[in-house]
């Protein structure tokens, strides 16, 4: 079983004046120049390489760190690299005000912990703080105190996270779980 409580140091995604960055799209996260890269070691070097002020993030981030982002993070294209570059860096979870729909899908399918916590930027959380995130309960705590609630992991998200990714889940689901109920929902 993978841990359902994750502890780590946070990065608040803000501009140089400390203001929350909204609508950060997949091109700012991972520029299309590097789409041909497939090696994770390479991929991680380009995380945020197109987001002014954040180009050196891959050098500063340490495995286990947690990323806290603003509204509509990951809008734009469906590129998987925009998720994979953070996984390669060892970022242990991402918490956001809200996410682009495809980004969210890609993150969940990759078994990468993603939580929606509207209002997380209204707390006094700052870069460098250490938080504990309970994926099951959707609680984000600092020094044992509840800071804000996030939407807890759904069953689906937990299944995929525990299996590793969507494909790993498919292997367990066809072996361990009952076979797909395909067609039963069909009316008539």
């Amino acid at each position: 079983m993978k841990p359902t409580v994750i502890k780590g140091r946070v990065w608040m995604l803000t501009d140089d004046k400390g203001r929350r960055l909204d609508d950060v799209d997949t091109d700012m996260i991972y520029h299309n120049r590097y789409l041909t890269v497939t090696d994770p070691e390479d991929m991680k070097r380009y995380a945020f390489s197109n987001l002014p002020g954040w180009e050196d993030f891959p050098k500063k981030a340490v495995p286990g760190d947690i990323l806290i982002v603003g509204r509509n993070f990951g809008a734009g294209s469906s590129r998987q690299h925009a998720v994979d570059c953070f996984i390669a860096l060892g970022i242990s979870a991402i918490v956001g005000e809200s996410f682009g729909a495809i980004y969210k899908r890609n993150a969940i399918n990759s078994g990468w912990p993603l939580l929606e916590a509207p209002g997380v930027f209204d707390t006094d959380l700052k870069t460098g703080d250490v938080v504990e995130i309970d994926l099951k309960r959707g609680e984000i705590k600092r020094e044992g105190e509840l800071l804000i609630r996030a939407k807890p992991f759904s069953r689906v998200q937990m299944d995929i996270y525990q299996a590793g990714d969507l494909f790993a889940y498919a292997k367990t689901s066809t072996k361990a779980s009952p076979p797909p109920r395909s067609g039963q929902g069909r009316n008539g």
């Binding site: 399918n109 689906v156 494909f167 292997k171 066809t174 067609g183 069909r186 008539g188």
Partner: protein, 415 residues
Amino acid sequence: MPMTVVEKIMAAHSGKKSVSAGDILWIDVDARTARDFGGPNVVKHLKKNFEPPYVADPKRTFFTFDLSTPARTIKYAISQHLLKEFAKETGVAVFDVDEGIGTHVLIEKGIVRPGDVAVGTDSHYNILGAVGAFGQGMGDKDIAFAFKTGRIWFEVPPTMKIKVEGAYSWPATARDLTFAVMREVGSSGALGRAIEYTGDAVERLSLDGRITLASQTTEMGGIVGFIPLNGEVRRFLEERSGQRVKEVLPDNDAEYVDELSVEVVGLEPLVAAPPSPTNVKSVSELEGMEIDSVFVGSCTEGRYENLLQVARVLKGKKVKKGVTFKITPATKEVWARAIRDGLVDIFLKAGAVVFSNPGCGGCAEGMAGLVGEGEVELSTTNRNFPGKQGPGKVYLVSAATAAASAVKGYLTGAW
């Protein structure tokens, strides 16, 4: 708990009594498809990650060759061949290059019925809302998973209601009604939402008109747009599927995040000017703009009704010299009927008309020609983003407006 249409469909397909917006669920899929574009990646994922059997239920799994029909580049030839080989190995059915646009074929063959769930590698899969089914376009990983397990996960979207009321008459058509809705909703007004349409104007739409309306859900940011059946559509679907249709209707007190209403009384022909499908103006505002070519077809306006509209305009007339007129029927069925009923004869007599075999035509892969630098095209497709159909400018219009304008050589709603 009272439920909306999408909530009811998702509850039925996840084995739950009741679900609500925001729930993430495993849902069973009634039909899954991959196209000649995304298909090879689906196969790659399956072979890389799994052992046979790669496909949970080959009878409900399809490849649809609709983008390049027949294969126009070596890349497509290789892709289509690869998919055929995989189909032989697994028993998956192939709708070959002669069949037409995948979603339309699913409707015509009665494979997808009201209340069903279907997914495919096509961002306009939500067209299936035209027959009250939940259709969804997805990435190649999700579709590979659906091939393998027969399931997908989905977050139940909130629902908005759009009421469309009023009577209008020719030359305004369902396409203009659709533009009127898009003008109201905008490019992100339905973002992440399901839509339920109501109102007498929607009720009167034919199946072909419903397909036109449903096909633009994506361009308003929507997940799916459901249109309640009328008698004619119900009869068609029962005849095609050979089964009684059970429509999924919302509960009376279901919860909606938003309610909009659009008036289409006396609707006039509309046009979406570059750079976006929601940049809607009335044709009379741009009347007289010179054009170089027109394209009629795509999953939006490639139905028989649309070809009939073109024929109605072109009958006994000539396409203006210098204007190229391209028509691609959506499916083989539409194509055959247009030949049988003499429409093609009318097109040929009008001159300058290319009538190509079924598929996506000029929409994505330039199968029915692209738009050159400096060229102005009137097109019945659903997107006019810069560069999508070539460097020229694309204005979206109804099939009727496209034909009337081709005769004059400039944009006009009069015929």
